[in-house]
Subunit: 207 residues, 2 copies
Amino acid sequence: MTDPNRRIVPLDKAYRLLNHGPTVLVSAAHGGQRNIMAAAWAMPLDFSPPKVAVVLDKSTWTRKLIEASGTFALQVPTHAQADLTETFGSSSGLALTQDEGIDKFAAYGVGAFAGEATSAPLLEGCVAWLECRLLPEPAIQERYDLFLGEVVAAQADARVFADGRWNFEGHDELRTLHHVAGGHFILAGDAIDAHALPRAPRLKESG
Amino acid sequence: MTDPNRRIVPLDKAYRLLNHGPTVLVSAAHGGQRNIMAAAWAMPLDFSPPKVAVVLDKSTWTRKLIEASGTFALQVPTHAQADLTETFGSSSGLALTQDEGIDKFAAYGVGAFAGEATSAPLLEGCVAWLECRLLPEPAIQERYDLFLGEVVAAQADARVFADGRWNFEGHDELRTLHHVAGGHFILAGDAIDAHALPRAPRLKESG
């Protein structure tokens, strides 16, 4: 059953899904296997075409699936998924099964749906999904565990992301998660609008 | 006058200052000139030694100062500094002055203090400061505008960052800013603690 709140996000607005710095879940699939992990270290890298950067530890099975498939998805989990996000951050698909790997979707009984443009499984209940094509940069992948991707499809939950803006008012259970450490998260709070200041008058004259 | 709320953060906890994804201000100085700019695209890159990644557009004067000096600082601005942060994001030290560059600290009448380990000026009124040594990676600097650094000193405001945790309760004016687009920000909200889930029983037996 397709979630009626899920909407396509135009690619030139996709960076806004990550711009406020949420913790993400990274998923990938290859050769009939799939997995998902939490990552607090992800950010946009460019506007158009949209690109992203994410840090993936060498020990993770999701990283191996990304290297093999050349695609991955970043998805933005919610307050309601806090325990699940902590779980996906503290367990490893590899560690759970020594060397074979069962997928964490099955291990924790959560649903996934197919994306628009990649094989990466997308977790139900999130508020944003970015499907990405890996931009291979072997030197920085090896040296810094840093992976770059081009966003090739994006979706978001229209209840909290509309007209290129996040607004969580009235949807506390859908607030994004911002990990600090050890299962401690800051939730996305109120929205504000800021306005550029005039320059100091003295300097304006001599500008 | 030194701010009595400012405390040294141990380097192995420095990643926690950026882990929840705040928008940062990037500052640098070289040859008697200094500048500061806003960047929503910054994240931790490693725990120990702590490293960071930040995206710096080729048009920015701050980037030129970083390339020349080999050091920079990331600082975390607050709700009270929202207009200033928007200003530092929408103006350029270069554009303000054609080709010579006056510094934005002076142009907007804000104070800076000296760091512990680098020449980068640190903006007063922020809630965290990370002084960094540039890790030169010319290929990705040129191709992706992506700059990496090692954190060599860190400080934070003890009213909202203590024992390796952010907590903004009772300090609304010190909440961190998380930029979405065009001066629209999400403020850091409530803190929550999540707990890892048990695996689905069926699979636990076969694990």
